[in-house]
Symmetry: D2
Subunit: 382 residues, 4 copies
């Protein structure tokens, strides 16, 4: 079954580049993003380095220069190509990367015939890692395409087509509760230890904020009123001339993976920074939930919340920090989540770009509060 | 009594520049710091703008250009001179600033003969504000002096001369506790509402970390081992070539307000960033306390903790965010604390540079995790 | 015959990308360089805009967005895509660019059946322009490849394989002489008016400086002795840690269009800035010729100089400025050369990357004195 | 007589700071400028280092840290404080600098009782150097003051009060002529060797361009028409939003050493970059003279040109480069002029800020073409 999952995840990554031109594979729109070809290489490097090399006798590790190019941020594995210059890596060419993928897949298939438990865990981690990069790849393509005068479309089928439901304020009891992953399934190290948290009673909105609602914020001078903003966010508004979410274009259009198209007023607003989410919440007299509230509410109102939680990631008011008692995994794998626990904010939920089955109630996504290229929206609390 | 306090606080600010040369009054070592003359002007502007102008009939407000120059960050009061360029303001000259101070003091003395309650509150706020700037002025002078080849000394009497006591791990019970300001005295808006927090049992060190202990971290490769650091901190280490706390010089000296001098191995280590504090804690198998733990422990072990809490500010593991139910004050004064609640970390305690009587158990100081010019040290938890 | 030339030049541009992977077509190593695909598009845009649009009735101009993308610097033609972001233009894909080339070529073939004289001139200009871009394309590929860990090779046949001959100091009489283009053939506007110049007698070296000679400069501390350098050059040495010509690698290798290979000690040194050329000349007690000396010497010693003048461009001591009486051409074409006459230095000769027949004794090439990615070497005077 | 000159020059420098507040002595408005106190120190360091130390037995050289702070750019003398951070040097205080000046003056007075010829030369150089810094000090004060909201005035007497005379085109014969310093008097190394130059006949305007004339250029869209500008200059116009000469304010005012005042339409336009001078000349169908033309014309029309040549420096079309046969002086003094011969343009004449007697027909001043804070205007040729 892990083998099936492996095949499916790996095949899906390759399917993602089908709509692209060869030149698109090199496209890195900004330092935070990576070219599609790099994602295909990096996820393969992950298996090569952390699974096959240590666990397959006689496995021929990839060229150290490939390792140098496709290591993302693992200090323990050695030096890396600087992230902002991934877009300069025209080589290896895609046919070489795809050949490498096949070789690594074959190694994994062999290894999974009779895997020791630690290999199973590592492969599971590698698959979840690859799923994260599938979402990143799509985010990054959208970013790279939106910078081009020709406004390329990735695929008409890749777009979000949901609308926001009627708003309902769901009452949530307070008291002593627990958050964090529980049970047997896969989870990242940052989701544990499960621990106790005290919450005061609160209410959570049943729906995401819509484009229409956000347009009212703008019409009311939202981007011009310093008093609605964190000081740091206000500086960004000034400096970057933010006047709307990242991909809004003109009065009623937006740029999407399906190209430029009409903006659906009833669709949930997306691609905004934490600062914009926070300012919006302040403007309408509400606030963002903290991550414990968010997770607690999912326990209370799973049905009501579940649908929207697969539409857009949702900013919380929680800075990303370790759960009490958190210990990163031993070795290079321990760099996966733990070392990013500063100056970022937690997002909860998942998005329409997230591979199905990858989402989890205890999942902790995180980005700097200024980031806007993720599929993030907002849900209010009060 | 408020009048006495006013006189004392205002006089103390002026006493702080006595050891300086006139040229020092213009010195702005970096964008984060301000020239001493600016601090004297800004604290006066605060009273002029928020107390005298609204509450004294016929009071002649300061020149709008002075207001432009001495407004720090109050958007509601209008545009401001850019902070990084405060060091270019050679005018008004110090004699003009001192004359302004006297005029404003006279206005305040009149007003305080029979003040309405809101004036009393505002003057209290203004005095606490001025005390904060007294500490900032000294931090900024130290920064400005440490950049100069001649290594000027501010004053032999301004230096810290305490040593770290023997380390004791103070046991702290967990459970449901409360933090936040309580009682009648002055407090900033960010210290309330007092609210409930759940804590697991923990231990807090009775003493600050010493220079000797920190030197062991360095000798053990502390600044060369990526695995000890947050990713963001590690990037700063590389980029800025950090190899020791900010003011350490050579093997056994340091730069201080008393000039360059021997480093006392038993003195508490200071002038380090949150990243260094965090890495040190990780290195020795401990951690930083969060702010609720810190405050809770003060209630349990006030006597044991009190002395060191007047020596150095202490980094906590808590990102600076609003207490549940926080509401900033109405008007421009509401910009005082609330709009800085992103991308900063909380420090607790106070320092030897803090004016006596300004410290408070519920006091929440905050700085970006990369800042090193404050009088910050660290106390461990586990 | 112009038609033959057109076919040959246009075909040669397309032949230049044959050794490249599709991803290489997007590669822009630095802001000064452009991706290969962009060069193919821009040279086509030149004909589309300056020849076909004004001179072919009913010609359907290219999409305004393509014009926006492929305009290099012609203000009169409208806004342009920012040069440093050409590497983000994954679209149009190469197959679309090649189709455009074909369409434009067909238009040109028709037009050249019976061209008015101004069309002939414009097409000649367009072909010389395209030849310049052929050399730029190769320079830019070399730049983009040298940044990659995998050190790709463009083609084994693209490399320079000449050696420096024995040095001879050619005596050159002074007096009143003339420089500038003369005769009927094609020339750029910056090569005229031909005009009188007074020269004192001088000597010019018969050969280019070799790798061996330059290595002696390095061994003698050439990059460490401030007294040999212009102040501006010395700052660049410090800031960029220059220690050798741009593509030298290790003790005896270099990076070339044929990949990394042994450095031939007898080959002429290349890929150095004007500052390095100037410092080298000072070090060995000679100097760079000015451009009038260079051109005058070609008249006197054509045979002796001719061979090396097809090997590498040669830095002169002349700042790039208009010849007395210079007038740029009317219209957008006038932006071709005239507006770059500040802060650049003149290079004379041509290089092994220059298309055969494109070189001319009166040719004035120009680059900022800090540039190192052109095929530039140096010839001494005294 | 040299002694008298010494006393006068040295006293004049100190007189220049009389109108300043102590804080102004620290003021460095931009990296290109220096604080007034630094100028007083640096000119003293020059005598200390190049005259007294090598030529006075037993002379106690200044503190190496002072030398480090007050060395401007002499690599041969050792490391220097970074120029952009001179404004951070609050110490030594002015009273210490003045005491040093006095000590150095005493040393010079002793030495000049019976000086060897090389000392005489060095002192002459030192005095001419100090005169240059007198002009720089005033330029830098103007720059530092114009950045302040309070718009301080230096002195009502320091302002220029001349008007432009009627324009006359002075005919200048061409042919073989000589330029460069001749005769016995003091000159800088860059003014020799005197050498032959061929000139075609030309005409030079008898007067400087006026504010009125320049306002017509602006009214005609001068700052909005790319075709009038060098590409590099056009980029600066866009980037810096240049719309007028540096110190013009509003419709009819300007900032001067006498503070903000009415702009005299008949006064010569000043404080413009080479790019603005060049664009203006192109706009009105004329051009800038080259430096040989300028100097040659002074020989022909001394009387007609002399007056305006003491009003403003005049941009020429000549890049700053060595005269044929130029050799810098031996030792550190050789860094005075020679190493700046790249990427700068020559200005000729002198200005109302230049100390009387410092000007010379063969004088070559030089600044980057983007600089605007010098007292530069323009005179046309055709």
């Amino acid at each position: 079954m892990l083998l099936d999952e492996l095949r499916e995840v790996r095949r899906r990554s390759e399917a993602l580049i089908a709509p692209l031109e060869p030149e698109d594979l090199m496209l890195q729109g900004m330092a935070d993003a990576s070219p599609p070809k790099w994602h295909l290489g990096h996820t393969t490097w992950f298996f090569d380095t952390f699974v096959l090399q240590p666990h397959t006798e006689g496995f021929e590790a990839c060229d150290p220069l490939w390792s140098y190019q496709f290591n993302s941020y693992y200090e323990a594995v050695g030096a890396r190509h600087p992230r902002p210059q991934r877009g300069l890596l025209s080589r290896p060419a895609i046919h070489e990367v795809l050949a490498w993928r096949q070789k690594v897949d074959e190694g994994l298939e062999d290894l999974l015939q009779n895997p020791p438990p630690e290999v199973t865990s590592l492969v599971e981690l590698g698959l979840n890692h690859e799923q994260q990069h599938q979402e990143l790849l799509l985010m990054d393509v959208l970013d790279g395409f939106h910078r081009q005068p020709l406004e390329p479309a990735y695929s008409a089928h890749a777009e979000l087509t949901v609308q926001v439901g009627p708003e309902d304020w769901l009452p949530c009891t307070g008291g002593l509760t627990e958050i964090g992953h529980t049970g047997e399934g896969f989870h990242f190290d940052n989701e544990v230890p499960r621990h106790r948290v005290w919450l005061e009673p609160f209410e959570l909105s049943s729906s995401l904020v819509s484009n229409t609602a956000f347009a009212e914020f703008i019409a009311d001078g939202g981007y011009e009123r310093a008093e609605l903003w964190m000081s740091e966010g206000w500086a960004l508004v000034q400096q970057n001339h933010w006047q709307a979410p990242r991909y809004w274009r003109g009065d009623d259009e937006e740029f999407t993976l399906a190209g430029r198209r009409q903006r659906d007023p009833q669709a949930p607003v997306r691609h905004l920074s934490w600062f914009e989410a926070d300012a919006y919440a302040r403007w309408c007299g509400a606030r963002l939930p903290n991550e414990a509230e968010w997770e607690h509410a999912c326990g209370l109102h799973g049905n009501a919340l579940q649908h929207a939680n697969r539409v857009l990631w949702q900013w919380t008011s929680s800075a990303y920090s370790p759960y009490p008692g958190f210990r990163p995994a031993a070795g290079a794998i321990g760099e996966y989540n733990g070392k990013f626990m500063s100056s970022q904010m937690v997002l909860r939920g998942s998005s329409w770009l997230t591979p199905v089955g990858h989402e989890r109630t205890s999942y902790r996504n995180f980005f700097p509060p200024s980031s806007r290229w993720m599929a993030a929206g907002l849900r209010l609390a009060r």
